[in-house]
Subunit: 75 residues, 2 copies
């Protein structure tokens, strides 16, 4: 599971996870903050600057995560 | 769990999920394809055109999902 994920402690903030998507021009980083907020950084331009940053509350992150993992089922 | 998620069948392709992030200018859609590939569409510009599209294999989607749900633990 840990393959392709590099984590880095961000003292006082939380943990940053860089997910290798097998392409330099398509990367994704997630910062899990101590307070539960997750920041999603999307890199698609090959640059070190993200093309998009999405801030997710704990609840939102769980929803999006469930969709991605495949455990989301509509009511 | 279903609150804030609108799903739509895409005949022959899979299912599209629109996740409400509480802001018109910050939206996220996930297309779960029948073959397991997930397409992640990020909208941060307030426009109907995504600023980024990320294609995730089933394995990659599970990794990213685990990070977001909070069930990822390093080896």
């Amino acid at each position: 599971m840990g393959k392709g994920i590099v984590s880095q402690d961000l003292p006082g903030i939380g943990t940053r996870y860089d997910v290798d998507l097998g392409s330099r021009s398509q990367r994704l980083s997630i910062v899990v903050r101590r307070d539960g907020v997750r920041d999603l950084y999307i890199f698609t331009s090959g640059s070190d600057d993200p093309v998009a940053v999405i801030e997710l509350t704990d609840e939102q992150a769980r929803k999006v995560g469930a969709l991605l993992v495949g455990t989301y089922f509509a009511d």
